[in-house]
Amino acid sequence: MKTGLTISTVGHAALLAWAALLASGLFAARPLDAPPTESMPIDIVSATEFSQLRAGKLDAPKPQQPKQVEKIADPKPQPSSAQKVVDKREIVSAFAPTPPPPPEPKVVEPKRTAEAKVEPKSKAPEKEAEHKPDPIAEALKRDEAKKPDTKPEPKNEAKNQLTKQETKPEPKQVEMTKPQPKFDASRIAALLDKRETQRHATTGDTINLTAALGTRTGDSPQLSASEIDAFRHKVGTCWNPPAGATNADRVRVLMTIRLKPDRTLAAPPEVEISARDAATQAMIDAAVRAIIQCQPYAMFSLQRYDAWKEIPLDFNPTEMFGG
């Protein structure tokens, strides 16, 4: 009795210990090692936001109706696009040591355009009347007075003109002016690089186009459906399987081809079936001929070379011969 109780106690204790080990996960079944799905960056647009994007506005400007022309005038000669290009090229670079445009004699004429703000005008006395003492302007004025050479910009010139009540700029000042790389919002165009575009790849040839966000087991880039379709179509045009051979519809030729970056075969196709009879041999030969004859495979993008450098193929004539 006592022995039985002891055995039972020890046994139950062992069972409980086993259960505890299971619960702790030590011997728990390993979870399925599913490869993590690669993330794809997307923008989430809610229905509300989408509606707002698409909604009209009551206070939006009315679309202007094109005026009905009663009489069509003679067509005016349009400047050719080639001429426009020439005009554009005549724009002088900001870095070129060119003098600023000389002030026009019309500086005294009243203007209503926005440019009038920076042009010396007859309104200058009014502006001066409204002018409030500005310590920065005063400091600038002092600087300009100290350095009369640094006045290449018409804006500064105008300011000086405004403050000095001058109506004519001094041509000598312009000649002595050295070009300084000062930022001028009105001459951004002049800052642009007018050199010819350098048409080179900005990165390496094997840029990774997949949107992998760093998964541990992310797959290599794969062929797109359109690339596969184009490849399939091209190989199909070259594939001339022997029709009518005995059981030809049941002979499937499996092979792997390896391609070089120039999209031609790196090696003869590696056929994965054995020629057990004349019909199979003829089918293999026809498939190999198709692959050799169809190269190069220009439909593949060089950036995805990893995806097409080795392609397993299955030539299956079942559908063709009516299975």
Binding site: I7, L21, R232, I292
Partner: protein
């Protein structure tokens, strides 16, 4: 008697379970240590090509090189026969020799592949023919895959000079087989009924020729009416029906010696003979009153066995390639239809159910189809049907098409077509898909063709 390996469930005690649990736990530790290896990366998906572009294979056949200048003419003729064979079968497109860049002068060197690829050739055949000291011809050829740049086949033949056409046909067969995977049919003969004279006094003679129409010769003189010649599997004999003074009888004719013998001497008419695949028996129809039944006669023992016994017209029997079944036509169901029965006779199964009447069934050498003539709505059509009643389709249709016979590879049919009027019948060949219908050249009008087995294999 408790065996550890065959422990009954009832003997499992709690103690044993506990021991087992401990053992399992230990095994679990081991398994946990073994598991969790690196995940094998998935292979790239296989691209399946299902649609091809079936078209004749462009093949270059430059003239064979003659061993001596005097052999050049014969070498050119051999090349022309091979070229004609390959072109007529519809699976090859021989390239015009004027387009050739290279001139073949030596057949022992590897060809300059780029020059043959430049003219879009996929295959190239080069060969040499020379006359030996004993007067026999030595002919050899090599077949190259121009696209893959590899040697495919080659062979050498020595034969008498007058057999040069057969050598050409054999070479064409080998090229055909290597490039299509199917056996060829160029080294074969056609037996047919040659018809001359006006329709009311038509002279019908038994004739034989090569499958390309060359070498026609007559086997009978034309006094008797001859019908339905059929080759033996050895191609050395013909059985046919001849109608002279008495009843129509079945005769057996040796092709080379022209020896003739009657096959059984039965009362009444005997007709529609055909050899069994083992060349030992002839199956035919015997007239019995207003009906006819099918009998088989052993050629050695002359013993005759009845296969059908119906009050109907059972005729045109034909063995399956393995000889275990016979197809025939019968009007036992009201109209002429095709039936299949065991070679030993017994119950027959009807396999055609279409409109019109079906006749002249011929089992394909492949065994996959039975060709027939269907008569309906004033049209005679040649068609095929599978022995399991499926896949019936019409190959060609017209005013009067009849008498299909199979090429030994089972992919081409020959038949005769009679346009009616003052004209006469001609032989035509067509592939099993209904394409590449071509008239077969014959000396005059021709009907009832019978295609021999491959001569080189028989």
């Amino acid at each position: 008697m408790n065996d550890h390996n065959t422990l009954p469930l009832s003997m499992l005690s709690r103690r044993r379970l506990l021991a087992g649990a401990a053992g399992l736990s230990a095994a679990g530790v081991v398994l946990a240590g073994l598991g969790g290896g690196p995940r094998k990366s998935a292979a790239a998906p296989r691209v399946t090509i299902t649609e091809g572009n079936v078209q004749p294979i462009p093949i270059a056949l430059p003239d064979f090189v003659g061993g001596q200048p005097a052999d050049n003419e014969l070498a050119r003729s051999v090349t022309q026969v091979i070229t004609a064979d390959l072109r007529r079968c519809g699976l090859f497109a021989p390239i015009d020799p004027a387009a050739f860049i290279d001139k073949i002068t030596n057949t022992d060197t590897v060809p300059n592949y780029p020059n043959w690829r430049a003219i879009n050739a996929q295959a190239l055949v080069v060969g040499r023919l020379r006359r030996q000291g004993d007067g026999r011809l030595q002919t050899e050829f090599r077949l190259w895959d121009v696209v893959a740049g590899q040697y495919l086949a080659g062979q050498q033949f020595v034969t008498t000079a007058d057999s040069w056409r057969r050598i050409a046909h054999i070479i064409a067969d080998l090229i055909y087989e290597r490039l299509t995977g199917d056996t060829g049919y160029f080294d074969t003969r056609i037996a047919f009924v040659d018809e001359t004279g006006p329709p009311e006094r038509r002279v019908k003679r038994l004739a034989i020729m090569d499958q390309d129409g060359a070498g026609a010769r007559y086997l009978t003189h034309g006094q008797d009416l001859v019908l339905t010649p059929r080759f033996s599997p050895s191609s050395q004999e013909l059985v046919y029906m001849s109608y002279g003074q008495g009843d129509p009888k079945v005769y057996l004719l040796k092709v080379e010696t022209l020896d003739r013998e009657i096959v059984g001497n039965f009362p009444g008419m005997s007709f529609s003979p055909r050899f069994s695949p083992d060349n030992r028996r002839v199956v035919m129809s015997l007239q019995q009153g207003g009906n006819s039944n099918i009998f088989v006669m052993d050629l050695q023992s002359k013993a005759t066995t009845r296969l059908t016994d119906t009050a109907a017209i059972d005729t045109a029997p034909c063995y399956s390639p393995n000889g275990d079944r016979i197809c025939f036509e019968s009007d036992r169901g009201g109209s002429q239809q095709i039936y299949v029965m065991a070679a030993s006779g017994g119950p027959a199964e009807r396999i055609t159910f279409g409109e019109g009447s079906y006749s002249t069934p011929v089992w394909s050498p492949r065994g996959d189809f039975i060709a027939f003539t269907r008569i309906g709505q004033g049209q005679f059509a040649i068609g095929v049907i599978k022995p399991d009643k499926s896949g019936e389709r019409i190959i060609t249709e017209g005013y009067h098409n009849e008498g299909p016979t199979w090429a030994p590879n089972g992919r081409v049919l020959m038949f005769f077509r009679d346009p009616g009027g003052n004209g006469g019948p001609s032989l035509f060949s067509v592939d099993i898909a209904g394409r590449n219908e071509q008239r077969v050249p014959t000396p005059s009008f021709a009907s009832d063709p019978a295609w021999s087995p491959l001569l080189s294999s028989s």
